[in-house]
Each structure stands twice: as C-alpha cells, then as structure tokens.
C-alpha cells in the first residue's frame, strides 16, 4: 500500500507564468517517456519479478516516479495559474485550454493522450529490465530537451533534479540486471524465464 507525505520530493515555486512552457512540460506527465508511464511500468512489472532485491528496486523506483509525476503536474499548474485570455490566445497552450482549461491532464506535448501502450510489462525478466534502462535514458533525453527551452531558474532547478534522478535510476536498473543475470544460467541467460517456466528452483 501507499501512504501520502504532504510535500513534494523537491521544492517548486514558479513565480512567472508561462503557458507555452507548460504545454511542453506536460509531456513529462503523460507523454511517451513521461512519469506516469514510468511509474505504471515499474509497478506493473513487479509481479513477474521473482528476485526480491529487484522487485524492491521496481517498487521503490516506481514509487519515486509517483513523486515525480506530482512534481511535473505542479510545474504545469504553477505555469498556468491566473492566466488571462490574452496570455493564452495564440500560444501552443490554446488547444489544450479548450478541453482542459487550466486543469492537469496526461498528454504528450504534441497532444497525444497518455496510453498504456507507452510501456510494456512483458512477463520476461530480462526484456523488462532492458526496457527500464531504455526508459530512463529516454526520460533523461526529454528533460535535456526541456532544459533547452527556458532560462527561468524556478523551472530549471526542478527539471535538473528530475533529470538527475533518471540517471540514478538507470544506474540502479543496471545493477538490478546484473543481479538477475547472476542468478541465471551464465552460459545462456535465455535458457528459461524464471518468472514463467516451471522447474526453476526457488532462489531467495
């Protein structure tokens, strides 16, 4: 189960609204490499992970991603607070405003709604962990791209924090993959799928 702590993982206080930037940052909420996809990916994959250290990594990183989607939503919210119609008209935020006003809804910067197709839970331990490694790099890439779009330090600092977390998660997933491979047949990692094939021995 989860328990809510009433604070962000990293403080955010954006003083200058910027609806155009909000329409870009929303991608890290509901876009292809966004935080919702990240969290749902890891929290779903846990059930096919027979090794407890790695199931813990999936649980704890998946939980931290929930903190991150709250941070990204906070940035979108603060960038779109108290907007006048003049500030909205003619910006890339205008189309979003038609359906969602200044509410927070998961979509990509290009307007594509969030879908579970953005991530996989393959039931195969090695396939899942390679996807997780790629996902962290893809999210890091999106933060790099967002960082190039602004010079507002109130926005840059939380984005830099989130970018750094992707790199740490990538490191942890690399170690998780090594832990998994140490438990498999060193001559053929794909000889069996420990999450599915019968006959593998319980290995705590």
């Amino acid at each position: 189960m989860w328990s809510y702590e009433k604070r962000l993982e990293y403080p955010i206080c954006i003083k200058q609204t910027n609806p155009t930037l909000a329409a870009m940052i929303i991608s890290q909420y509901g876009g292809p490499d966004g935080e919702i996809g990240a969290s749902m990916r890891y929290l779903s994959q846990r059930f096919a992970m027979p090794y407890r250290e790695v199931a813990s990594v999936l649980t704890d990183v998946g939980t931290e991603e929930l903190n991150h989607l709250e941070m990204v939503s906070t940035m979108v919210h603060q960038l779109t607070r108290n907007l006048s119609m003049e500030q909205i008209k003619g910006t890339p935020f205008e189309a979003y405003y038609v359906d969602h006003t200044a509410g927070v809804w998961p979509q990509a910067a290009g307007g594509i709604p969030f879908t579970a197709v953005e991530f996989q839970s393959s039931g195969d331990v090695i396939a899942d962990l390679f996807e997780d490694l790629a996902a962290e790099q893809k999210a890091r890439k999106t933060y790099d791209n967002l960082l190039r779009l602004t010079d507002d330090s109130d926005v840059l600092e939380p984005l830099k924090f989130l970018r750094q977390r992707e790199i740490v998660h990538f490191q942890r997933f690399g170690e998780a993959l090594r832990i998994v491979q140490d438990k498999l047949d060193s001559k053929n990692f794909y000889a069996f799928n420990p999450a599915f094939d019968k006959g593998w021995k319980c290995n705590k």
Binding site: S3, Y4, E5, K6, R7, L8, E9, Y10, P11, I12, C13, I14, K15, Q16, T17, E53, S56, V57, D60, V61, E64, E70, S73, T74, H77, Q78, R81, N82, S84, M85, E86, Q87, V168, H169, R172, E175, A176, I179
Partner: protein, 114 residues
C-alpha cells in the same frame, strides 16, 4: 468573460502565502527562519533516505550505507517532529488535534514551496 488584461505576474509566491497562513494559525508566531530551516531539513534528510534506500536495494550488505541510512533516519525523524509542530501534519497519522482535522487545513504541496 471578465479577465485582467496584459501580462500579469503571479500575485504571490506560494511560500509567501503559506507563511502568512502559518502565522495566522500558529499560536506562537514561529520565526520565519525557524520554519525555513525545518522545511529544508525535511527535504534534505528525506531525499537522503530515498537515495540510500535505492542504493541499498542493490547493495543490501553495504554496512557504510546502512550506517548512513540509520543516521539520516534519526535526523529525518527529528525534523518531521519539529515540522509537525510548526507547519502541521506531514502524514495523516501525524494529526494531533482534538478540535479540528488539521490534515485538511494545511496547503497542498503544489501551493507551497519548501
């Protein structure tokens, strides 16, 4: 639709809002400096705990990391206790008030800054 014209800066930084609200309800008029340092402590030690937890998941036998985790856990606990006194409950189980469910009184995280 009645809207203000032209560019408009956000009236107030959330932190200013929270501090004025805090003063209204804080019986002892806590000093701003005190509040800021306790919030900073919760953020810093809370982050150290998350980071060490992830490291320990893949290095469960690292005694240096285990000792660091124990140290940070102690500091975090102290900061959270002080936070509860000054700023209100961090978790709903921190509510300690006979007269009002203070969980619904304090600002949501997106309204505030640490």
């Amino acid at each position: 639709m009645a809207m203000n014209n032209g560019m408009r800066r956000m009236g107030q930084c959330p932190q200013e809002q929270i501090s004025s609200r805090m003063q209204e309800r804080c019986p002892m008029q806590m000093e701003m400096r005190d509040r800021k340092s306790v919030v900073k402590c919760v953020y810093e030690t809370g982050f150290a705990l998350v980071e060490t937890m992830l490291y320990l998941d893949t290095h469960p036998e690292d005694r240096e990391a285990l000792a660091y985790f124990a140290k940070m856990k102690e500091q975090y606990k102290m900061c959270v206790e002080r936070y509860n006194e000054i700023c209100g409950p961090l978790r709903f189980t921190d509510v300690n008030d006979d007269n009002y469910w203070t969980w619904v009184m304090t600002p949501m995280p997106w309204e505030m800054e640490g």
